[in-house]
């Protein structure tokens, strides 16, 4: 029978202050987890509202102006408050130091500061967006964002603040991975989740400052009329898009790379097989990070960018397919002849493989210059990035959440309800977004409040799917929270995995390990030992 250790990080210190001012990376990870789940709930409610409004053409539940604000809120909350910090700041914060056998991240105070800045920026941004009725979309393109009367300045200031939290997390992780590894943890013995976080952190510190200067320039443009994005004053609004996408395209890989890291862990653990092509997966993360900085112009094919530049950006975009393909094929090769077990985390990994492949391949359509001219700003784009972001990142995030939930709390969730939940989510997701591919291919433009009668059935179908997905998420919230209090003790290593975090107790003690662990085998050496599952 498994027991929960009497003293662990959850009860070592008591009181609300011991949480809000904690320097323990595990507690900060949980603080981040609660915050981003709140953001996910908020963004999810906005998503349901959007789908309700689009149930029929014309007005259903809200005015056109409100609709514009709601999709702006949905985009900005999901991107800046949920998906960018999601995996690194919550799961990464909790697991990374344990995976490398460290007591904490390199700069615990900076870690706490990062969360406080996140909270401040998040509240600031949400309040200013809803009170100031911002309707620019999350991209806040000029010249609309510099001429509209809504409170773009306050919202972008909130995003500027959030940028610091992202930079601090990235900086902390890079130094932690370089300097805090346990004896014997060489670079090529690091779990692939760590490689994913490392590549992510590199993008975070390289790209986020450019977002910072972009919103500073936008604020100055609005407040002081400096005129550098204002065409009437000799400025170039397309330059704003260069600035914006130099950050925001790599940011897409901030979202997906850690998810890919989780998938590597899940697939190897649940097929009980050494990961196929370890170095190829590790280096393809770095390759994706590098290539992500070369392709931003593919968002600007119809923005007045030079055709020659568009052609080159289109070509460079195809390069992203290579490292992504390498990962997919290596995961498939890992599965081949593995002892596959269909635990919930693995089901999320399978969902990821299926949905992310569709999302990635449709990305190739959109990266093709000539095709994009037709598909640009249609629901095809919306469907594509939801397949990558929700089908990819969110599936990986929930996979990781289910995988490490017993490590967080020492207790197991109900496996049957978990499987029911993912069935709802997966089916609902496909109904919602596969129909949007069809809508987009038929010419339905994105962000429109109303539409022609001919799109009605597909829009209705899509809205129907969003409710099924919502049911899946609600079930998940219930059984996960229930598990925290009443779940059966999970034991130290419920999945029989080999990475470091499973060598300590569940939940871990305050400084992660009773003594610094030494490395006796690699993270995926299932050909040498297969640990016993404690559940």
């Amino acid at each position: 029978m498994n027991k929960i250790p009497e003293v662990n990080y959850l009860n070592a210190d008591r009181g609300i202050k011991s949480w809000l001012f904690t320097l323990d990376h595990k507690r900060i990870g949980l603080l981040y987890l609660f915050s981003i789940m709140a953001a996910f709930l908020l963004g999810g409610v906005f998503a349901i509202l959007i789908r309700l409004e689009l149930l029929g053409p014309g007005k259903d539940i809200m005015e056109a102006r409100t609709y514009n604000q709601i999709f702006t809120l949905h985009g900005a909350v999901m991107i800046f408050l949920f998906i960018i910090p999601s995996i690194p700041a919550s799961l990464g914060n909790f697991i990374l130091p344990q995976m490398i056998g460290a007591k904490d991240v390199a700069f615990p105070r900076l870690n706490l500061l990062s969360w406080w800045i996140y909270m401040f920026g998040a509240i600031f941004a949400v309040i200013s967006m809803s009170a100031g009725s911002v309707d620019t979309g999350w991209t806040f393109y000029t010249p609309y964002s510099t001429t509209t009367s809504t409170s773009v300045v306050a919202m972008t200031l909130g995003i500027f603040i959030l940028g610091f939290s992202s930079i601090f997390t990235g900086l902390n992780f890079i130094v932690t991975i370089h300097k805090m590894r346990a004896p014997g943890q060489t670079w090529f013995r690091l779990p692939l989740f760590v490689w994913g976080l490392y590549a992510t952190a590199i993008i975070q510190v390289l790209a986020t400052p450019v977002l910072g200067i972009t919103v500073l320039l936008l604020i100055l443009e609005r407040v002081a009329g400096i005129g550098i994005f204002d065409p009437a004053m000799g400025g170039d609004p397309v330059l704003f898009q260069h600035f914006f996408w130099f950050y925001s395209h790599p940011a897409v890989y901030i979202m997906i790379l850690p998810g890919m890291g989780i998938i590597s862990e899940l697939i190897s653990t649940f097929s009980q097989k050494k990961i196929f092509g370890y170095k190829a997966i590790a280096f393809s993360s770095l390759a994706i990070a590098f290539i992500s900085f070369l392709v931003w112009g593919h968002h600007m094919f119809v923005s007045g960018q030079s055709q020659l530049a568009s052609a080159i950006f289109s070509f460079l975009t195809f390069l992203v397919g290579i490292p992504s393909g390498i990962k997919i094929f290596n995961w498939l090769a890992t599965l081949y002849k593995g002892k596959i077990r269909f635990d919930t985390p693995m089901l999320y990994a399978f969902s990821f493989l299926f949905l992310f492949t569709i999302g990635g391949l449709t990305g190739m359509f959109l990266g093709t210059l000539a095709t994009d001219v037709h598909l640009h700003d249609t629901y095809f784009v919306v469907a594509h990035f939801h397949f990558v972001m929700v089908g990819g990142t969110v599936m990986a995030f929930f996979g990781g959440l289910h995988y490490w939930w017993p490590k967080f709390w020492g207790r197991m969730y109900n496996e049957i309800w978990a499987k029911i939940s993912i069935a709802f989510t997966f089916v609902g997701f496909n109904i919602t977004f596969l129909s949007q591919f069809l809508l987009g291919a038929k010419g339905m433009p994105r962000r429109y409040y109303s539409y022609l009668e001919q799109f009605q059935s597909l829009h209705g179908f899509s809205s129907f799917g969003s409710w099924i997905m919502a049911v899946g998420f609600i079930i998940m919230a219930i059984y996960l929270i229930y598990a925290v209090f009443k779940g059966p003790p999970a034991g130290d290593n419920p999945w029989g995995a080999l990475t470091f975090e499973w060598r300590t107790t569940s939940p871990p003690p305050k400084e992660n390990f009773k003594e610094t662990p030494t490395l006796t085998h690699g993270p995926y050496d299932y050909d040498k030992i297969i640990p016993k599952r404690t559940i």
Binding site: P231, G234, F246
Partner: protein, 136 residues
């Protein structure tokens, strides 16, 4: 004075080296000011940026100890420069190659910009720059 090291075996750079670097930086400053008064056409900009790079390298390698410290710091600094170069190069490539395939697309933004000026009368096809500077 060289050959000192602290208890962590950190290299202590000699006073002479620092002074020589400082002097070199001041000489290069004089050089860049001097060169700017000579008409060299496009070479002026190249000379100015070249000398600035040389000065920056001196500061980074000696004052910031890149030459003596862990090589990973040099890597980090180089990565910053490389990605800044990518940002600059790809953006400038767009700006400079606009209109090469379809000449109509050359500077489309500023010429059509009149539509953003609410108070002004309808566009006459004249470039907007004639209307600025304003508030004489």
């Amino acid at each position: 004075m060289s050959g000192h090291s602290t208890h962590e075996n950190r290299h202590v750079v000699s006073f002479k080296t620092y002074l020589a670097t400082g002097t070199a930086l001041l000489i290069l400053t004089a050089a860049t000011v001097g060169v700017s008064f000579i008409k060299l056409g496009g070479w002026n900009a190249i000379a100015a940026v070249g000398i600035a790079c040389l000065k920056a390298i001196l500061v980074a390698f000696v004052f910031m100890h890149l030459l003596y410290d862990k090589k990973i710091f040099l890597v980090i600094f180089s990565v910053a420069i490389i990605f800044l170069t990518i940002f600059l190069a790809l953006t400038m490539f767009d700006i400079l190659s606009r209109g090469e395939i379809y000449p109509d697309y050359e500077e489309p933004i500023e010429k059509n910009a009149v539509i953003y000026k609410k108070a002004e009368p309808a566009p006459t096809g004249e470039p907007v720059e004639d209307s600025t500077p304003k508030n004489h």
